[in-house]
Symmetry: C2
Subunit: 231 residues, 2 copies
């Protein structure tokens, strides 16, 4: 009788994530796992980003415990949007993403944004089969969150400091964030951004456009993100 | 061979929570589990609250994945402060709280504040042995969070809408929060509060003072919070 239940579940998850990446690679789609605390502005970022990408077609999977509010906000903007309700789960799982991908038409899609459940802990440890991770940190959350939640920031390919339009009314020290990041992740750019005023959007969109697959990547596997190196 | 591992773990947790409550009841201490997303202002609230309570002595347990920053902030203010590092765990557990309580001197303590890990999902489902739950929701997180994270708000004995000093610079609809709450929790007061300006502090401190054990409660078990009724 097998009793190593936890190991089996994790292995099943890893296999599912790898299969998701193969499907996305085959379709030439770059998947971006978007992670943050609740209310850091993930949906607002995508509301600004998707129209600004113009001809670059995007699909979105959006995870929440309940409601379809985010999908309703993004539905008019993206080529395809699917809401995943986790019914109490604190993160999206690779099998939920696999199921949702089956329902998408990936033809002509460049970016698949996967907006994870708002949570700085659980989503950090689950590979969904994404190629890149973008982590948001909003200024009202405080300048101590990199030190308090290092696993989330360690695995980020880009970090967006959001709601910087509020920085003048907050007691906020962006240098502290940069200093904490310097100890755990020096490869990911930190982009100061406001979806409200547009500050930093050009830098973010420039980074994002550079992640499109080049001609040599088309129909070739992009590989696991942790094989691609962080530095 | 037993394979119902999950059930055993949950049962062990429930037993530990009940034992914590018995210890606290015997000492005449009211334990308050303080829950919210990261950066909603839990520590700032306690920084304002503990000195304002005057002669009412408070102890604090504070949970974080890493760092002792919150304990350092609260150390000079409370009678006793213990930091619990969860080392990646997304919530405090009743056994971690049991271990921490052993290290406290409960004599003369009225309130034990248990500042949970910043997370709107996992901490909601773990009974730590507390008597009351206070849930914070900060205005910059957005007015849609009650609908998105109902389990957290359903179990609250009081809900604090924090950082209301920012409401003028946000596109925020407090009526939407009240409407969503009216569907899931009508018993808990919603207190609009700013630790920065002091707005709402009198109402919050009034609620808190009313939770002190009366003469009839001293040395008598207060019972499980879910036996005490929500309405």
């Amino acid at each position: 009788m097998k009793i190593n239940v936890v190991r089996s579940v994790l292995e099943a998850g890893e296999a599912s994530a790898a299969e998701n990446r193969r499907r996305l690679d085959a379709a030439g789609v770059v998947a971006i796992n978007v992670l943050s605390a609740p209310g850091s502005g993930k949906t607002a970022l995508l509301e600004s980003t998707i129209p600004a990408l113009g001809d670059i077609r995007c699909a979105v999977l959006v995870g929440d415990l309940q409601t379809t509010r985010d999908a309703e906000r993004l539905g008019p903007l993206a080529a395809q949007v699917t809401q995943i309700n986790t019914e109490g789960g604190c993160h999206l799982s690779p099998t939920q993403v696999a199921e949702a991908i089956k329902g998408l038409s990936l033809d002509g899609i460049t970016f698949l944004f996967i907006e994870n459940v708002g949570n700085m802990v659980c989503p950090a440890v689950f590979d969904l089969g994404e190629h890149l991770r973008v982590v948001l940190l909003s200024t009202p959350e405080g300048d101590d969150k990199v030190a308090k939640y290092p696993p989330l920031f360690q695995t980020a390919d880009a970090i967006l400091l959001t709601k910087v339009d509020l920085i003048d009314v907050l007691d906020y020290d962006a240098a502290r964030v940069r200093e904490d990041l310097s100890r755990i992740n020096t490869a990911a750019p930190l982009i100061e951004l406001s979806s409200k005023t547009g500050q930093g959007m050009d830098e973010w969109l420039g980074w994002l456009r550079a992640q499109r697959p080049g001609p040599e990547d088309l129909h070739a596997p992009r590989g696991r993100r942790d094989d691609r190196g962080q530095d």
